[in-house]
Amino acid sequence: MATQGRLAVESVSKSYPVREGAVVALSDVTFDVAAGQFVVLIGPSGCGKSTLLHCIGGFVELTDGNIRLDDSAIRGPGSDRGIVFQREALFPWMTVEDNLRAALRPKGITGAEAEELIDTYLKAVGLGESRRLYPRELSGGMQQRAAIARTLIYQPSVLLLDEPLGALDAQTRELMKEWLVGIWLREQKTVVYVTHDLDEAVFLAQKVVVLSARPGRVKRIVDVNLRYPRDRRDPRYEEKREQLWKLIRDEVRFD
């Protein structure tokens, strides 16, 4: 079991200044993530999921509240947290292997040691053959796997994933879900995963944080205590899905 990567999000609020006043994206959000836990943030589009992930990443400053990682408050970005975006996360001007190499350089890992790690991680994400290609030459699913490899390789204790499967087609998304579970079981890392897809939430999460429509607040925290790999024919799976849909449905409105 992982010993590092305990997250505490405490009364976090975030508003963006705009021309007239401010957009309140998050309001008093509180939840915990245990070390090695897989947590999914779910909520309607525009409710502040990405904002919350950016706050945890330390890319934007909080308006109010605190985020702690293993008991020390987060100040700015750091290599203890790795982030993968929905699309175009890789540097397009570097080949896949150079992207991974770039991720190792600040840690001072170069030469044979670096090459060995790159080899290992590219094989783990099934991209051993494509290492000399540019991101643009890869399919969407391959790009996302390469981006995840680039984040895993520098060994952050927390993995932040912002709709990593959002830009993929349905079949690829299915395969990637199963693959993600495998990676997570093997790497034993804390994962905070943003999505608006209910099935992703039930398939992946140990704990689902449901956010309300803007401004995002924690509406409910739902635990999913099902064994991995999860079986969609299990009645409890359908039950959880139903429960989440009921929570979300009131928040998604046409207006």
């Binding site: 700015g76 750091g78 947290r81 790795g82 982030i83 975006f85 540097f91 001007w93 770039a102």
Partner: protein, 247 residues
């Protein structure tokens, strides 16, 4: 091969009309020179070195001006694009200076700098600078924020991120600024050579016009066209070479 020839069939028709019209004196030689005379003039001029010399001088001026404009444009683009303060103070001046038709400064440069090579270079830099500068600036504004964040997460410092992320991201913008600058530079060079120079294709063309040597004038025009084409292709190749990830 045949496709290539067929594609250019209108040129073959136009050239034949030109040659027939002039050879049978349907078109006076004070209007159009015979096409074969143009090529003869081109051949002779390149052979005895006269045209070659003028071409080399012009090419040197344009390339020199473009190189300087590139260095200055990128430097100012980075400066204004990276510093909010300088953006606020410097950018209005730079954009405001574009209100003047770019050609209108030519007389001023002649007064200030005379007719030498410095003036030619400054004239070219004065038109080539802005598109390169503004593209560098725009490129910086459009750097994908998530790339910067990813690099920050890996542990890169802001200074390292300039080299790792921002410079590669703006390269395509610099190249397209350069592509805009090329025809403008060639045009300005031609005029600078027309109004005051002792060499160069612009000077050759205007003297040939004054002495009614139309074949020579057309030879100069052909060479200017080839120069424009060559420079454009060169910048394109530079783009492919510096940004191999863009297809």
């Amino acid at each position: 091969m045949l496709d290539g020839v067929l594609y250019f069939y209108p040129l073959i028709i136009l050239a034949s009309l030109w040659e027939i019209g002039t050879a049978f004196e349907l078109i006076g030689e004070d209007v159009l020179p015979r096409l074969d005379f143009v090529f003869a003039s081109l051949w002779r001029g390149l052979g005895d070195g006269e045209l070659l010399w003028h071409t080399a001088v012009s090419l040197f001026r344009v390339v020199g001006g473009l190189v300087i404009a590139c260095l200055l444009g990128v430097a100012f683009g980075l400066w204004t694009g990276l510093s909010k303060r300088w953006d606020a103070y410097l950018m209005p001046l730079l954009v405001g200076s574009q209100a003047f038709p770019r050609s209108a400064l030519l007389p001023l440069f002649i007064v200030w700098l005379g007719l030498g090579e410095t003036q030619k270079l400054v004239v070219i830099v004065s038109v080539a600078f802005f598109p390169i500068m503004i593209n560098t600036y725009e490129g910086l504004k459009r750097v994908n924020e998530s790339h910067v964040w990813a690099a920050l997460s890996m542990g890169y410092s802001n200074r390292e991120i300039l080299r790792l992320v921002k410079i590669p991201a703006i390269l395509p913008y610099i190249i397209s600024g350069l592509r805009i600058a090329v025809p403008m530079s060639v045009t300005m060079m031609v005029v600078a050579e027309m109004v005051g120079a002792y060499s160069g294709l612009g000077q050759l063309v205007i003297i040939a016009g004054q002495t009614y040597e139309l074949a020579k004038m057309f030879a100069g025009i052909v060479l200017l066209g080839l120069m424009g084409l060559l420079l454009d292709r060169a910048v394109e190749a530079l783009g492919r070479w510096t940004t191999p990830w863009n297809r």
